[in-house]
Amino acid sequence: MQNKDVIASDFGPQLMQGRGAGATDGGPELIQLLTPEGERVEHPAFSFDLDDEAIKGFYRDMVLTRRIDVEATALQRHGELGIWAQLLGQEAAQIGSGRALLPQDFVFPTYREHGVAWCRGVDPLKLLGLFRGVDQGSWDPHENNFGLYTIVIGAQTLHATGYAMGVQRDGHVGTGDPERDAAVVAYFGDGASSQGDVNEAFIFAASYNAPVVFFCQNNQWAISEPIERQSRIPLYQRALGFGFPGVRVDGNDVLATYAVTKAALQRARDGQGPTFVEAYTYRMGAHTTTDDPTRYRLSDDLERWKLRDPIQRVKVYLQRNGLVDKSWLEELDAEAEKLGERLREGCRGMPDPEVLDIFGHVFAEQTEELARQQAEFGDYLSSFEEARA
């Protein structure tokens, strides 16, 4: 029933067609600075302005981030976590964008931004709490300028836009002071692009020219639904309809993602308003540990995407250019090992919350009614203790 060509007719320009979840090829508009084969290439508009040490740093970030993901996945299998949202395959999109941030920038994540959290200095152990069911995010958003994970799809894009409006009102935009000017990043997925909230966020951001970057990780899937269900043209083009620019970057290329995000963030800080960055990538894992992708997608797709692995290409680049040696890589492995251990032990050691504390978290000023419920429930619970005693 669906007619996939967008007919031009007399109605304006021929629109480019989306390639769909099956395609690994981001198309001509894809911005790339490091090929899947590990070759650095030039792009007319964007260039990577850091040295090879930085690239080694990115490599380390990605390796450790993947390790966090692997450990968490394993912990879920062992029943230590209720569920885990894997980022496998999205390391470059997250590290590249995360490393482009300045301390004063603020991030509004979804539930999958483990790599960005890493860049913001959030203790990975804290990421596990929500998935273990001991809390709903225990880090202080203001400590690392990294908001709590948001599960309602798209809701955080409006929060990001509002926060950016606050940054404007604080006069932290366009002053030229690099310590002061700040940008806000809203992370969201390809599926989220269909939510009213996300589109309203585009409208508010454009209307107020807010300093926000809409960073969309198009990992081709929203659980079982391929990108074609959400958009029949490349997603970054959505922004054009709202009056601000959009670009598609190779989300598996950490250098390009860094360069493009950095430029978008600077536009925001300079007062040039919002930008849409589509990081074209692939969810190599399941949607979450409870999902079974074999029900809805072909394994060949996955195989093809494996050839575009975000970490492998950097390793090839580093090795081919003799930037890292065996011992460096071994040290990194050892570091990952230690991180893994720390996560395993830390996770198992996480105390369950106290149900009575729950009543204290609802309000800044607790109501008498809640205090009463808390007290009565306390008495009720201790009545069992007494019974046992």
Binding site: Q136, S194, Q230
Partner: protein, 325 residues
């Protein structure tokens, strides 16, 4: 026919409804190839095609709003909301359109639509996946609200809801999906959709619940019986309209009532039931109607949900308090 879980029974009921009426459509997120995250629509797209089992873009208001249009065109859409907490982006379309179009049009535009919502907690999920939104819909004129509690009801009630000409919010106790199996006699004639049912009879107190709490209440009644207390348990099944007949009959007899649900007690179904029961059974009541339910906090992290959720002990505690009056 073999025994079925609630999940399988709902799937079978949906399949039957689609076979019986070509106008029945299923729409929602991941209802197609995946068969829904709970597999309630498993296999339906394969057998009925993409035009009748529609994977929707990720937008609940869009799911409900397009269903309104489909209903106006003569279809009978069955919308799946993936989890209770995600019905809210579609809330405006539900309360201002779905609930009001029949009224607005003075009956010229009926709204035969079913909105399926897996609801309630107890499955160890993250935030927004364990909500009990029923009271908000029951408070909205123009909507009918039902909750099934077991496979047999699941099989019949979903078909009755789909065949019904008014919009029905259909609540499915997700923690029961794969819990118990039951024999379903497809040749039987089911109870009416909007009827409550006494599921255990007793003389000392009437215990009212629905959805996931029915099982808890039956266990509580069983436990109480060992202490010589005879408790009548009613599975309300319909939350709007309420079927007060059996409730009033029972409470007039027992003189005591306790309402149990997972939803927050404050302005939950229990408050309406308490108010009506008191009005209709004033002189029979030996004790005020007591309510057991979620505290007035948001649903807590999974690791404390077992303590937070009303359970057998808390139901019995309320029973004791009632009998203590």
């Amino acid at each position: 026919m073999s025994k079925m879980t609630l999940a399988k029974a709902l799937n079978a009921g949906l399949r039957k409804a689609m076979e019986d009426d070509p106008k029945v459509l299923v729409t929602g997120e991941d209802v197609g190839k995946l068969g829904g995250v709970f597999r309630i629509t498993d296999g339906l797209q394969k057998d009925f095609g993409e035009d009748r089992v529609i994977d929707s873009p990720l937008a609940e208001s869009g799911i409900i709003g397009t269903a309104v249009g489909l209903a106006m065109r003569g279809y009978r859409p069955v919308c799946e909301i993936q989890f209770d907490g995600f019905v809210y982006p579609g809330y405006d379309q539900i309360v201002s359109q779905v609930a009001k179009i029949h009224f607005r049009s003075q009956g010229k535009v009926p709204m035969p639509m079913v909105i399926r919502i897996p609801f309630g907690g107890g499955i160890g999920a993250v935030e927004h996946h364990s909500e009990s939104p029923e009271a908000q819909f029951a408070h909205t004129p123009g909507l009918k609200v039902v909750a099934c509690s077991n496979p047999v009801d699941g099989y019949w009630m979903i078909q009755q809801a789909i065949a019904h000409d008014d919009p029905v919010i259909f609540l499915e106790p997700k923690r029961q999906y794969h819990a118990d199996k039951a024999e379903i006699d497809q040749s039987a004639t089911p109870d009416p959709l909007f009827a409550s049912r006494v599921v255990r009879s007793g003389d000392d107190l009437t215990l009212l619940s629905y959805g996931p709490m029915v099982k808890v209440c039956l266990a509580s009644a069983e436990a109480a019986s060992t202490e010589g207390r005879s408790i009548e348990v009613i599975d309300l099944r319909t939350l709007s309209p309420l079927d007060m007949g059996p409730v009033v009959e029972s409470v007039r007899r027992t003189g005591r009532a306790v309402v149990a649900h997972e939803a927050h007690v404050n302005l939950g179904m229990g408050s309406e039931l308490a108010a009506r029961i008191t009005e209709e059974c004033f002189y029979s009541l030996q004790a005020p109607v007591l309510r057991v339910g979620g505290f007035d906090t948001p649903y807590p992290p999974a690791r404390v949900e077992e303590e937070w959720l009303p359970d057998l002990d808390r139901v019995l505690d309320a029973v004791d308090r009632s009998l203590g009056f």
